[in-house]
C-alpha cells in the first residue's frame, strides 16, 4: 500500500513536469503583454519596454524557464507581475473558498446523487428511473451560469432565504458560511449530481445482476440492506472513479460559479490571471489544479481498497 502510494506519487512527477513545460510554452506563445496591463492605456512604447525589462520578460525563454523552475523547486512560485504580491500568498488566500465550496459540492452531490442512482437502478425501467435520468440529462444540458441565475432568482431574490452573493469562511460562523455557500454548491452540484447519479445507476444495475445479490436475497435479507450494504459497496469503485475524474468538470464549473456568486476563489484568480497574462500566477494555478486533480485521483484510487478488499496495492 505504502509502496503503491509512493510509486503513484513518483509517477505524478513526470506528469507535473510535462504540465509545467506545456503551460510555460503555451503561455509564452500566447499574445499579450503583462507590462501593458500594468502600465495602463496611455503608456508609451519606451515605457513599456523598460517595464518589460524590469519584469524579466525580455530574457530568452530558456532563461526564464530555468529561473522559474529553479525557484519553484525551492518552493518559490515568484511574485505576480501585476499586483507584485507573492504568488504563494495570493493563492493560499484564495484557495480556502474554492476548496470549501468544492467540498460542500461533493458532499451535497454524493448525498443527493447516490440515493437517486440507487433508487433508479432498483426501480429500473419505471417512471422513477425515467424521472431521475431525465433530470440527469437536464443537469447536463443547462449551462452552469443559467442554473446559478435561476437559483439566485428563486432563493435569494424571491424567497430571500440566503444572500445573493459573497463568501464567508467557516471561521466566520457556520451559519454565515452555509447560507452563502449553499447556492454556489447547489449550482455546481447539478452537473455533478447528474454525472454521479447516472454512474451510480449504471454501476448498480450491473451489480444488482450479480450472483451475490441473489445470494443475499436468498438469505432473506431486507431490500434496503441488499441495496445499500451488499450492492452499493460493490458498485462503489466506478462511482468513486467518476467522482475523481468529474473533479475536472468541477474545476470548470468553479470558474463560472465564482463569477456568478462573487466568490474570491482560485477559479476567478486563474481567469483573471490568464486575461492579464500574469504568468507566474497562471503557472502556479495550473500546476496547483493539476496537482489537486492528480492527488484527488490518487486518493480515489487508494480509497478503492477501502471499498473493495480485493484491490490491494
Amino acid at each position: 500500500m505504502f509502496g503503491y502510494i509512493l510509486k503513484r506519487l513518483l509517477a505524478t512527477i513526470p506528469v507535473l513536469l510535462i504540465v509545467a513545460v506545456f503551460v510555460f510554452l503555451l503561455l509564452r506563445l500566447t499574445p499579450g503583454d503583462p507590462a501593458a496591463i500594468l502600465a495602463g492605456d496611455a503608456a508609451t512604447p519606451a515605457q513599456l519596454e523598460r517595464i518589460r525589462d524590469r519584469l524579466g520578460l525580455n530574457d530568452p525563454l530558456l532563461v526564464q524557464f530555468v529561473t522559474w523552475f529553479g525557484q519553484m523547486l525551492k518552493g518559490d512560485l515568484g511574485t505576480s507581475l501585476i499586483s507584485n504580491t507573492d504568488v504563494v500568498d495570493m493563492v493560499s488566500d484564495r484557495l480556502g473558498p474554492t476548496i470549501n465550496i468544492a467540498l460542500m459540492t461533493i458532499v451535497i452531490s454524493v448525498l443527493l446523487a447516490v440515493p437517486m442512482g440507487v433508487i433508479a437502478a432498483w426501480r429500473h425501467r419505471t417512471w422513477i428511473d425515467f424521472a431521475v435520468m431525465s433530470f440527469s440529462v437536464l443537469g447536463f444540458s443547462v449551462p452552469v451560469f443559467v442554473i446559478g441565475y435561476i437559483l439566485i432568482q428563486i432563493f435569494a431574490i424571491e424567497l430571500r432565504w440566503v444572500p445573493v452573493q459573497g463568501y464567508a469562511s467557516p471561521s466566520d460562523g457556520i451559519g454565515a458560511f452555509f447560507s452563502r455557500a449553499i447556492l454556489p454548491s447547489l449550482t455546481l452540484a447539478t452537473i455533478y449530481v447528474a454525472l454521479i447519479a447516472r454512474m451510480t445507476r449504471a454501476s448498480m444495475l450491473e451489480v444488482l445482476g450479480e450472483d451475490y445479490i441473489r445470494t443475499a436475497r436468498a438469505k432473506g435479507v431486507r431490500e434496503n440492506v441488499v441495496l445499500f450494504r451488499h450492492a452499493l459497496r460493490n458498485a462503489a469503485v466506478p462511482i468513486l472513479t467518476i467522482i475523481g475524474t468529474g473533479f475536472a468538470l468541477l474545476i470548470s464549473g468553479v470558474v463560472v460559479t465564482e463569477s456568478v456568486f462573487n466568490i474570491p476563489g482560485i477559479g476567478r484568480l486563474t481567469v483573471d490571471a490568464i486575461l492579464a497574462r500574469d504568468y507566474p500566477v497562471i503557472q502556479a494555478m495550473i500546476l496547483l489544479t493539476a496537482g489537486i486533480y492528480v492527488l484527488v485521483n490518487l486518493i480515489v484510487d487508494v480509497s478503492y481498497s477501502f471499498f473493495d478488499p480485493r484491490i490491494r496495492y
Binding site: E210, A218, K219, G220, V221, R222, P309
Partner: protein, 561 residues
C-alpha cells in the same frame, strides 16, 4: 456401485410442487419455461434434478425460493407448497422470513455467489441478524460453530477473511454454512460442485450429505453430472424443455430408464473405461515439447517477486492422428502448456518443435508463417468467436491470411459447415444466433479450415452439457480420423479423457507426474495423485451408457479417500 435405497415414503413431505407453470412476464401465450411440473421431496431425502442445459432446472429452484427475476419470469399457475405454506402468493415480507429459516439455497459459482466486499463471517452472521434476536456475541458464537461444522480450517482466521482470500472449496463451505445456519427444512443446491475440481467436489458432496444427516434436511440437488447423481441421489427427476419427463428412485432410473430422453441422456455419459487406442503412427511426431518451462511474473518495480512457475520440465510428443490428453486439477498448468505451444505466451524455457521447426524462440514475424500448422479451440464457446463477425468471415480469416483467394475460402467454409453438421445458411449468421454447442462446432471448423497438423483443444467441451458434449467429441474424433490431425486435448474430466485420448499426461502444480497410454494410466495409475483423481470421480463404477455397473472398474478398489 452402491446406490441409496432408503425408503422415505413415511417421512414428512417438505416440498410439494403441483402443476407449476412459469412463463415470460406478461406473455402468457408464449412457450412456458416450466410447463406444469410436479415435484415432491420429503425430509431427509436427496432429490436430484437433471437435464440438459436450459431445461428449466434453475428456474424451478428460483421459483421455489420466490426469487424469479420479476421483470422476466413469473409464475403463471400451479402451486408450490413448502410444509403447508403456499409460496406462489406469499408477500415479499413473508418470503423473506421463509428464506434461510425454512428453505435455503447454494449456488453454483462460489466465486461470485459470495459478496466480495464483506467478510465471510459477517455474511453468515447477517442471516442470524436478519432472522433471530441473538446478541452480537451469541451470533458470532453460532457462526463460528456452523463454520466448524462445515470443517473449515482455522475458523477464527477464516471468519474475518474476504471471499477472495479463500479457495473455491472453502467458499462453497461458507455457502453451505450460510445456508444451514438456521437449520432449514429444505436445501436447494443448484450445481454446487460444477465449478470445483473432482477432489474438492467429492469433499463438498460428502459435506452436504453429512449435514443432511445431522439436520434431517431435505435436499433438492440440481446437476447435469450423472456421476454425481449416481453418488448422492435418493430419487431423480429428469427435465426436458420445461417438463419433468421422468421421475424415479435412482437405481430404477439408472438401470431401467423409461423414457427415450432419459436413455439418450444416459447414453451420452462417457464412462471411465479408456477407449481402445488408435494404431501407433509410424510417422515422425508433429509436436515435440522438450523441457518446457513457464514462469509468470517475476520482476516488479520495487521488490523482485518470485513469480508463478506454472509449467516445469514438461516433455512430450504427439504423432499425427493421435490424441494426447492433459489432465489435472484446476491451476495445475494445463492451459499454460497449451498457450506456450501456441505461442500465445512466450515460454521462459525449453523447446517446442512443430512440424520440424523450433518455434519457442521465433520472433513474432517469423512465427507468422508457422501459425497454420497449429490451431486451437478454446473452452468458452461464447467468447471464442468475434461477436461482430459473421460465421463466414470468421471461417475465412485464417485461409485469407495465408493467401487463399476469398472465393476459394468461402467455398471451403461452406464445405466445413457441412463437415461440422451445420446448415449452409449459418454462414451469414452471427455467433449469438447459435447455441453453445453449435458455436463450438464453428470454432472447430475455423481451426480445421487451416488444415493444421496439430489441434489444441483447451477444455473444448467442458462448458457443454453431456449430450452436446458427446456430439462435439464425436465431431473431433471424426475430424481427426479424416485429416489425420494430431490433437492435444486438455480436460479436467477423466471420463472425457478416457473417451477420446490415446495417451494421457497428468499434471500437478506445473509438473508432469504421470504419462503414458490412456489405458495404462487410467486403469493402473501409479502415481498417488493420479489415483486420487480417479478415485474422486463420482459414479466411476457405473457404466451409464449401458445401464449397468462397469465390468472392469478402473483403478484399485477401496474406500474412497
Amino acid at each position: 456401485m452402491k446406490f441409496k435405497t432408503r425408503d422415505l415414503s413415511t417421512a414428512q413431505r417438505v416440498l410439494k410442487i403441483r402443476k407449476l407453470k412459469v412463463g415470460l412476464t406478461g406473455r402468457p401465450d408464449a412457450q412456458p419455461v416450466l410447463n406444469e411440473i410436479d415435484l415432491d421431496i420429503r425430509a431427509g431425502e436427496t432429490h436430484c434434478l437433471v437435464g440438459e442445459s436450459g431445461s428449466g432446472k434453475s428456474v424451478t429452484s428460483l421459483a421455489t425460493m420466490g426469487l424469479l427475476p420479476k421483470d422476466a419470469l413469473e409464475v403463471q399457475g400451479g402451486l408450490i407448497d413448502l410444509e403447508g405454506f403456499e409460496i406462489t402468493n406469499a408477500t415479499a415480507a413473508q418470503m423473506r422470513d421463509l428464506r434461510a429459516q425454512r428453505v435455503a439455497m447454494i449456488f453454483q459459482e462460489p466465486m461470485t455467489a459470495l459478496n466480495p466486499v464483506l467478510r465471510v463471517g459477517e455474511q453468515i452472521e447477517e442471516v442470524l441478524n436478519m432472522h433471530t434476536d441473538l446478541s452480537k456475541s451469541e451470533a458470532k458464537a453460532r457462526t463460528i460453530d456452523i463454520m466448524e461444522q462445515v470443517h473449515l480450517p482455522d475458523v477464527q482466521r477464516v471468519y474475518s477473511a474476504f471471499p477472495h482470500q479463500l479457495s473455491g472449496g472453502q467458499r462453497q463451505r461458507i455457502m453451505i454454512a450460510m445456508a444451514l445456519v438456521l437449520d432449514p427444512d429444505l436445501l436447494i443446491a443448484d450445481e454446487p460442485t460444477t465449478a470445483l475440481d473432482v477432489t474438492t467436489q467429492l469433499q463438498i458432496l460428502k459435506l452436504i450429505e453429512e449435514m443432511q444427516e445431522r439436520h434431517g434436511t431435505a435436499v433438492l440437488f440440481i446437476t447435469h453430472d450423472m456421476g454425481v447423481v449416481a453418488e448422492i441421489a435418493d430419487t431423480v427427476s429428469v427435465m426436458q424443455k420445461g417438463e419433468i419427463v421422468e421421475s424415479a428412485p435412482i437405481r430404477e432410473l439408472l438401470t431401467n430408464p423409461q423414457k427415450d430422453y432419459t436413455r439418450k441422456l444416459l447414453k451420452a455419459v462417457p464412462n471411465l473405461a479408456p477407449r481402445p487406442a488408435r494404431a501407433v503412427s509410424e510417422k515422425d511426431a508433429v509436436l515435440n515439447v522438450d523441457r518446457l518451462e513457464m514462469t509468470y511474473g517475476g520482476g516488479g518495480w520495487f521488490r523482485k517477486s518470485e513469480g508463478v512457475r506454472a509449467a516445469r520440465d514438461v516433455t512430450f510428443d504427439i504423432a499425427p492422428g493421435r490424441t494426447l490428453g492433459i489432465v489435472g486439477e484446476s491451476g495445475s498448468g494445463k492451459s499454460t502448456v497449451a498457450r506456450c505451444i501456441m505461442r500465445l505466451i512466450d515460454p521462459t524455457g525449453g523447446e517446442v518443435t512443430v512440424a520440424a521447426t523450433e518455434i519457442s524462440r521465433l520472433s513474432r514475424r517469423n512465427l507468422q508463417s508457422h501459425r497454420k500448422h497449429l490451431q486451437i479451440v478454446f473452452q468458452d464457446p461464447y467468447r471464442s468467436l468475434n461477436p461482430r463477425w459473421t460465421v463466414a468471415r470468421s471461417l475465412c480469416e485464417g485461409p485469407i491470411n495465408f493467401g487463399t483467394p476469398k472465393s476459394e475460402a468461402m467455398e471451403r467454409a461452406a464445405e466445413l459447415m457441412e463437415l461440422v453438421d451445420l446448415p449452409k445458411d449459418a454462414l451469414d449468421r452471427y455467433p449469438h444466433q447459435f447455441s453453445g454447442g453449435q458455436r463450438q462446432r464453428i470454432a472447430i471448423a475455423r481451426a480445421v479450415a487451416m488444415k493444421p497438423d496439430l489441434l489444441v483443444a483447451d477444455e473444448a467441451v467442458s462448458a457443454l452439457d453431456v449430450s452436446v458434449q458427446a456430439q462435439v467429441l464425436d465431431l473431433l474424433d471424426d475430424v481427426q480420423d479424416r485429416f489425420g490431425i494430431a490433437m492435444l486435448f486438455i480436460t479436467h474430466d477423466l471420463r472425457v479423457a478416457a473417451q477420446i485420448c490415446d495417451d494421457v499426461l497428468v499434471m500437478q502444480k506445473g509438473q508432469v507426474v504421470e504419462q503414458g497410454p490412456a489405458a495404462a494410466v487410467l486403469a493402473n495409475p501409479r502415481h498417488d495423485y493420479t489415483r486420487s483423481l480417479i478415485e474422486a470421480a463420482p459414479g466411476r463404477h457405473w457404466d451409464f451408457a449401458n445401464f449397468r455397473a462397469l465390468e472392469r472398474a478402473p483403478a484399485v478398489e477401496g474406500p474412497i479417500a
